[in-house]
């Protein structure tokens, strides 16, 4: 399943992702943390082995067909167990129920990217299959090594 991969090395802390998410959902489910010389955007990782789903006593948390971790607000009792279980501190309580990133289901249904990924001006966020991503990285690294050799090779 595809997930949002975050490359803090490309984030410029412009917070376009936050603004886009808030415009569409009324609040932002992604947060950009800015430091002296870098920035880290963070949202729900939709973990393969999601501790929030495992901890939820009412079965309010479930996975949709694309693998996104979703909340069924009718089942959520606001017990906050998921807050304790999540290693990233993602779930928030709004009113009486938990809210979190849903990877923009309407957009996914149309074959589009989640909003934060679509709008990111620098490509710090990407929506990919993790294995495709690492395969791409491997190839790029190999190309850089090969390029270094050819730069030194006369006549090429």
């Amino acid at each position: 399943m595809s997930g949002i991969l975050i490359d803090p090395g490309k984030c410029i802390a412009c917070r376009a992702c936050e603004v886009a998410c808030e415009r569409e959902h009324g609040r932002s489910f992604i947060t950009v943390f800015e430091f002296e010389s870098s920035a880290v955007p963070l949202n729900c990782r939709h973990c393969e082995k999601a501790p929030c789903i495992e901890a939820c006593p009412t079965g309010a948390l479930f996975r949709d067909k694309d693998g996104a971790v979703m909340v069924d607000v009718k089942k959520c009792i606001g017990c906050e167990v998921c807050l304790l279980a999540c290693p990233f501190g993602i779930p928030e309580i709004a009113g009486k129920v938990m809210v979190k990133c849903d990877l923009c289901p309407e957009r996914r249904a149309e074959g589009k990217l989640p909003l934060c990924v679509q709008t990111c001006p620098t490509g710090a966020l990407s929506y990919v299959e993790p294995n495709d991503f690492s395969a791409g990285r491997r190839k790029a690294y190999a190309e850089r090594l090969a390029l270094r050799r050819s730069e030194n090779a006369p006549g090429l």
Partner: protein, 700 residues
């Protein structure tokens, strides 16, 4: 139906869609249009918040002042009649008693019409906000290369091996454009950042040259000294395509890295490393913005950097060139269409007899051959009582002019002030007549981004109340003034297309950029485009420069300090900055809750050493004073600024502090460096000071 528009904010010129739904309007990303400046349709936070422009406090009806700031609604007929009568009265005595202010925030068509109106009334007193941002670029690049525009495109930045970013917080001011820097870096390109602050752009630097504000010439000369000493300049290019090398060599000889280190505070080894890296690059691009241009020697700053580019031969081929980055979405277009006191559309000098004769014939009237006033000069003339009336389109000089208290005084002295805008601003408060215009999303027209790309933006939204397109308002004023001749000889237009066709007929660079072509091609056309079958010109100067002899004129310029340097009374250097989520005078972004809650208020950045020295605490408040005024802000203690330098975003009105002394050639004020002092102040006192300034109308 999704309507393609161009983002109303910065000079990148991003495309997006606006769609009307049963519940209102929604924004969508233009991820399906190949070749646009914002690849994959991505948008920055401002672009994402464009629909907040539909906020409730828009100007909806023409207003007439009973007293300052107190208006009554009037009809369009009444408003236009009054404007025309007052302008006619003053023009009758002396056309130079009138001043016109075009707008880098509206389309090419109304800009063309505003300057045509000024000129048909007999004055060249017409200018716009580029005066305060890139006039030194326009003049400086013209002196060296023959024309004032960006010489390449965003794609060339992506192709470069070395990118030098000078006085330009690229990541924060043009986030979508910065993608091309990051892509180049992924490919292995090296990034050199020159800035007094360790900005987000500097996060991405391989070499960071942290200079004192206002010492750019010394640094450029230091770089050229090293390049020439090591024989790394492009000898063939210098020989074949430039003049003035011997004199340059003599001048930069004195600028050893050690001496430049003393002036700029940049370590000599770094100067050496940056010079060698830049000169040895196969392809290199230099981008710059306000840090370089807003200086009392901005013209020479730009000439020095352009000379650095020329002697290394990094121009006129793909992946190379000079890229001044425009802040507003149509700065380039407003300049191109002659919203400047010295040129007609297409940079045709008003002093050139032949060009003037062409326009006299074209517009069917006698024209002035005397260069008009620039914005800051107009302020001075108004203070002296020599300027009587001001027609301002979509600008907010009360916040944007250096030493803004002075600007307010000047506007108050006028006999007649008309302001055409979309929101009430600090400037409309002073107006006699306020004309409600439509935002860019509510009407259509062409506009020209930083890389000279002309794009058409379509009407996506119904305007509020009786707001009217800028082109319509200006042409109504023109007709009411009696300019009712047919074709170009009058102001009888039915649409923006009509106006663009007239532009095609008199502006050589835009000759082939017709409304039909632009509408059919959403990615737009780069000028110069001399005919309808011409594809446009993304890359300039491949064969020759636009100077009369076709060569680059290298500039040998000496370092001079900024107009004000620190002394015992004012021991610090103040520089001004921006936030990624805000735009200029907050007229637009200040009304977006999405943006305002994230970028709430200005921070004064202070080095930890200076904070101790002046007793400032992180997150406490500081009173900042200069010879022109005082201002209060929260303190952010950070090593992003050097000892001796403090920095503050100007959006909220920090220009009450800045220096309005002018560069003698480009007439740009020294906004980026002035002497100041700071002291701690309680929050209550700080807020009281700001409230006082707000009551004076100089702070947002």
């Amino acid at each position: 139906m999704k309507v393609p528009v161009v983002c109303p904010y910065c000079g990148v010129g991003c495309r997006l869609y606006i769609e009307q739904t049963p519940s209102g309007y929604r924004l969508d990303y233009a991820d399906d249009v190949p070749g646009i400046p914002n690849e994959n349709g991505s948008l920055c936070p401002k672009g994402n918040a464009v629909l907040d422009l539909l906020s409730k406090d828009r100007l909806r009806k023409p207003l007439k002042a009973k007293e300052e700031g107190k208006f009554v609604e009037v009809s369009w007929g009444e408003a236009i009649k009054e404007v025309a009568e007052r302008l006619r009265e003053i023009a009758r005595d002396d056309p130079n008693g009138l001043m016109f202010f075009g707008s880098a925030k509206t389309y090419n068509e109304p800009n063309y019409l505003v300057q045509k109106l000024a000129r048909m009334l007999g004055t060249n007193n017409i200018d716009h906000c580029a005066r305060l941002c890139h006039s030194s670029t326009v003049a400086g690049l013209k002196a060296v290369f023959g024309a004032g525009a960006m010489t390449n495109t965003y794609r060339d930045i992506e192709r470069a091996d070395v990118i030098m970013i000078w006085g330009h917080n690229y990541a924060e001011t043009h986030p979508v454009g910065f993608r091309y820097v990051i892509k180049a870096k992924e490919r292995g390109a090296r990034v050199i950042v020159v800035d007094p602050r360790y900005t987000r752009t500097a996060w991405f630097s391989d070499i960071f040259l942290q200079l004192y504000p206002g010492t750019d010439i010394a640094l450029a000369n230091g770089l050229m000294h090293v390049i020439i000493k090591h024989g790394l300049h492009d000898k063939e290019f210098v020989e074949r395509r430039t003049v003035g090398f011997q004199e340059l060599k003599k001048t930069v000889e004195k600028y050893t890295p050690e001496r430049v280190e003393e002036i700029t505070g940049v370590p000599a080894e770094l100067i050496e490393e940056a010079a060698v890296t830049f000169a040895k690059a196969e392809n290199a691009v230099v981008t710059w913005a306000m840090g370089l241009t807003q200086s009392v020697h901005g013209y020479d700053n730009v000439r020095a950097v352009a000379t650095l580019i020329a002697i290394t031969g990094h121009i006129g081929k793909p992946g190379n060139g000079a890229s001044p980055m425009r802040g507003q979405n149509n700065v380039q277009g407003a300049c191109d269409l002659g919203v400047l006191p010295n040129v007609f559309p297409g940079y045709q000098a008003v002093t050139d007899e032949e060009k003037r004769m062409f326009f006299e014939e074209f517009w069917g009237t006698e024209l002035s051959g005397e260069v008009g006033l620039t914005t800051v000069e107009a302020t001075h003339e108004a203070l002296k009582g020599r300027l009587k009336a001001y027609y301002i389109v979509g600008e907010n000089p009360v916040i944007s002019e250096a030493n803004s208290k002075n600007a307010v005084k000047a506007l108050r002295r006028l006999e007649f002030l008309v302001v055409q805008d979309i929101f009430p601003t600090e400037t409309t408060r002073l107006a006699d007549i306020v004309l409600p215009a439509t935002s860019m999303l509510e009407n259509e027209g062409s506009l020209t981004n930083t890389e000279r790309r002309v794009q058409w933006s379509f009407k996506a939204i119904e305007p509020p109340g009786e707001a009217r397109p800028d082109w319509w308002i200006v042409s109504e004023v023109g007709k009411a003034l009696g300019f009712t001749g047919s074709g170009p000889k009058g102001f009888n237009y039915r649409s923006a297309e009509d106006v663009l066709r007239e532009i095609n007929a008199c502006t050589p660079q835009y000759r082939g950029i017709t409304p039909e072509r632009l509408k059919a091609n959403l990615a737009g056309i780069h000028w110069p485009c001399p005919s309808e079958d011409h594809p446009g010109t993304p890359l300039l100067y491949t064969e020759r420069f636009l100077t009369p002899d076709g060569k680059a004129h290298l500039a040998a310029v000496e370092h001079r300090p900024p107009a004000e340097t620190p002394d015992d009374e004012y021991p610090l250097i103040l520089t001004t900055t921006r936030y990624v989520g805000h735009f200029h005078t907050l007229t637009m972004t200040g009304r977006s809750e999405l943006l305002r809650k994230r970028w709430r208020e200005p921070f004064l950045e202070v080095h930890p050493g200076d904070a101790r020295r002046f007793g400032l605490e992180d997150n406490g408040w500081a009173l900042i004073e200069t010879r022109r005024g005082r201002y209060a802000a929260r303190v952010k203690v950070t090593k992003a600024v050097k000892p001796g330098v403090v920095a503050i975003p100007w959006h909220w009105g920090a220009n009450v502090l800045t220096n309005d002394v002018l560069d003698p050639v480009s007439k740009i004020p020294d906004t980026k460096a002035c002497a100041c002092r700071v002291k701690p102040v309680g929050e209550v006192e700080a807020r009281r000071i700001l409230e006082e300034l707000r009551a004076e109308g100089v702070v947002a």
